[in-house]
Structure formats: C-alpha cells, structure tokens
Amino acid sequence: MALTDLITAFLLLGSLGFFLAGTLGLLRFPDLYCRLHALTKADNLGLGLVVLALMIQSDSWQVVIRLLLIWLLVLVAGATVAHLIARKAQQDGHQPWRR
C-alpha cells in the first residue's frame, strides 16, 4: 500500500470520528445551542478531512479545486445557517440549557 493510501485511510478514519461525534452530539446534547455546536464541528472538520483525503488521491488540480469549492460552500453555508438558526432560536425565546 502506498504512502498516499495510508494517509488517506488515516484521514478518513479521522473524519469518521468527527461525524460520529457530530451525530452523537446531535442525539445526546441537551439543547439546541449545544447541538448546533456539535453539528458545526462535523460540518467543518469531518467533511474537511474527507476532502483532504480525496485531494491526496487526486491526480489533477481541477479535481482539487472542485473538492475545495464543495468544502468551502458547505463551510460558508453551514456557518451562516447555524448563525441564523441560533439567532432565530434566541428570538423565539429558547433559553440556553443550564445544569
């Protein structure tokens, strides 16, 4: 197995950790704001690592750009939507969870 494959596998496993954490957080965290927090991690890093892993495998710069574009889009859209949802929740009167 080539070194690139090894790195890819490593990165993919890493991304898996983030996605699992995101889902776990979505399920187990007590309120909206905490879940939002969990979700953004999965967005940014989980997908980021997948993109990185595939970039290593790619053989042309067009593929790299395409992957980067997808990642950036998810990043920007995810961040903005998370912000909007949090603000909406606040306006609707959701109180942050306290222990």
Binding site: L73, V76, A77, T80, H83, L84, R87
Partner: protein, 328 residues
C-alpha cells in the same frame, strides 16, 4: 461488492422507514423535514442505480425548490387538521383503507416475487445500444440529453407545456403574497446571498454546458438557478413593477414557445415533427436548452411565490402585496 450490497440494503431500509414515518407522523412540520431528508437519500439511491442525471435533478429540486415549496406552503396553511364542525364521518375511501392496505401490500409483495422470476427469465438489453448507435447524429454527446432533446423531444416539449400550464394554473388561483415580512434581514444572510448567488449562476452554467457530454442539462440547471432566484427573494429582492407584466410572462413562456416554434418549423420543412436538420441539430439543442433553462428557473421560482403579480386588469391592489413587497 458485498459492501455495496449492504450499503444498498441500509439505504433502502432507511428510505422505506422514512417514508412510513413521515407519512404516519402526527406533526406536519416533522413530516416536511423528514421529506427533505427523504429527498436527500433518494438522490443517493439514484447515484447507486447509476442514474446521475436523475440524482442531479433530485438534488437540485429536493434540496432547493421542493423544500421551499413545502415550507412556504406549510407556513401559509398551518398544520393542525381542522375539520368543519364536529363531523368526522369517514369517507367511503377512508373506511376502505384498512382492506386497501392489505389488498395493496399483498399484491405488491407477490409482484416483487414475480419480478424476481421474470428478471432472470428476460434480460432485455434496453435501448442503451440503440441510443449509442444514434448518438453521433443526435447533436449531443450524452445519452440522456440525446433522448430528452432529440429522440423523445416530443415528450420534453409537452413537459415544458406542463410546466407553463402549472404556472398559469397557479396564477389563476391566487395573487402573490409576500413570502415573509420585510423587517430585519440580517447582514450575514445578505452576505451569504451575495456570495452564493454568483456561484449558483456559475454552477448552473456549468451543469448546462456539461449536459452536452455528461450528466446535466436544462432542468437541473434551471432548478439551481431557481434556487438562486429564491434566495434573492428571501433576502428581499423584488422584481421591479414595470417588469412584472409582459416581460415576466415572456420569460416564463420563452422555453415552451421556442420549442413549439422549432417543432412547427421542422414540421414545415421536413414533414417530420422535431426532425432537426443534421447540420443544425447541435445548435438547435443548445438553443432549446438555453431558453428552457431560463424559463424553468423563472417558472419554479414563481411557483414558490405562488400567485400572479398584481396587474392593471383586475381591481387595484395596495402595493404592499406586490410580489414581495416594495423593498429592493
């Protein structure tokens, strides 16, 4: 290979469970969100089935337009099940429902078994071969586009008619009402729109161009553009009043009209409906796809807005109920 099969299995179980849960859900909003998730997974199914064109279309409408349509509709409709008076008499059909369920499920399962038997028996090659043979003279290099825009162009023409007809129906039903209140559009949202809109236009162009030799094409491209228009509307853009008349109608109808004109011209010149001259086939398909994209984008966005623009024909209306209010 086994892994792929397990993937398919889990995907299908999830899809079926989703369908059941969303239809049995007591809360309509939940049903709508589950439906959006359903569309997401359905796109995965199309990918697994080797139908990326359909997956593109499903992604473009499922993620954008359908979600918006349903959410806007739900907002205007409300989710409680209001009955008139206290009567909750079951209709004929509803009383039939339990036997129907059984009566449908059992034949379906037997149908599946039948399918198994017959799929082994008859392995038709499909029309793949025929399409590939004729691809050279079709004016495009992608099978699905060739079928849509040339071999079965008559279907596509009528489908464009259905789209325009749907819009006319919607306009005949209601006047456009604002999708939301005009207050406080957050700067982040505007920023997002400013960033996404150009990308959407570029991607739509890319998908349209790609349809010539790879999955993509007018409908997918138009659906992406319409999501862009919708985003613009959501951050407060409105069509200027002077453009809401004939110009808007022309934009909506241009896709279908040009298709009809091409059909009429081919019928006049060659006696065959939609038989493109060999030398012109490529350019004609490009023209048809371009105008279709423009129309589809406008039609889908207008369908979400859900009503005709205020006009001089009917009684005067206050300006606040213009397509999306007055602000630009």
């Amino acid at each position: 290979m086994e892994l792929a099969l397990i993937f398919d299995l889990i995907l299908l179980i999830t899809l079926i469970a989703l369908a059941w849960l969303l239809l049995a859900s007591s809360d309509i909003f939940r049903a709508v969100v589950l439906f959006i998730a359903f569309g997401l997974l359905l796109a995965l199914a199309w990918v697994r089935l080797g139908a990326p064109d359909v997956a593109l279309a499903e992604a473009a409408i499922g993620a954008g337009i359908t979600g918006a349509l349903l959410l806007v509709g739900l907002g205007r409709l409300g989710s409680a099940e209001h009955y008139r008076g206290t009567r909750t008499r079951l209709t004929f059909l509803q009383r039939l429902s339990a036997p129907v369920l059984i009566g449908v499920m059992i034949p379906s399962i037997s149908l599946i078994l039948l399918l198994e038997l017959s799929l082994h028996a008859s392995a038709t090659p499909g029309q793949q071969g025929l399409v590939n043979v004729l691809l050279d003279v079709s004016g495009t290099n992608h099978g699905v586009t060739a079928v849509l825009m040339n071999f079965r162009a008559w279907d596509t023409l009528l489908e464009k008619g259905v789209l325009l007809l749907a819009l006319i129906s919607i306009w005949s039903l209601d006047q456009a009402r604002p999708l939301f209140r005009q207050n406080d559009i957050s700067p982040q949202l505007t920023g997002l729109a400013r960033l996404l809109l150009p990308i959407m236009i570029i991607v739509a162009g890319f998908v349209l161009w790609q349809g010539d030799h790879a999955p993509g094409g007018a409908f997918q491209s138009g659906a992406i553009l319409s999501a862009g228009i919708l985003l613009a509307i959501l951050v407060g853009y409105t069509l200027p009043t002077r453009r809401q008349g004939l110009s808007l109608r022309l934009l909506l109808a241009v896709g279908f009209s040009v298709f009809l004109l091409v059909a009429a011209a081919t019928l006049l010149s060659s006696d065959y409906l939609l038989k493109y001259p060999d030398s012109l086939a490529g350019s004609l398909i490009l023209l048809l796809e371009l105008v279709a994209t423009a129309s589809i984008a406008a039609l889908l966005a207008a369908a979400v807005v859900g009503g005709h623009p205020p006009d001089d024909l009917s009684k005067p209306v206050d300006r606040s109920s213009a397509v999306n209010g007055g602000q630009t």
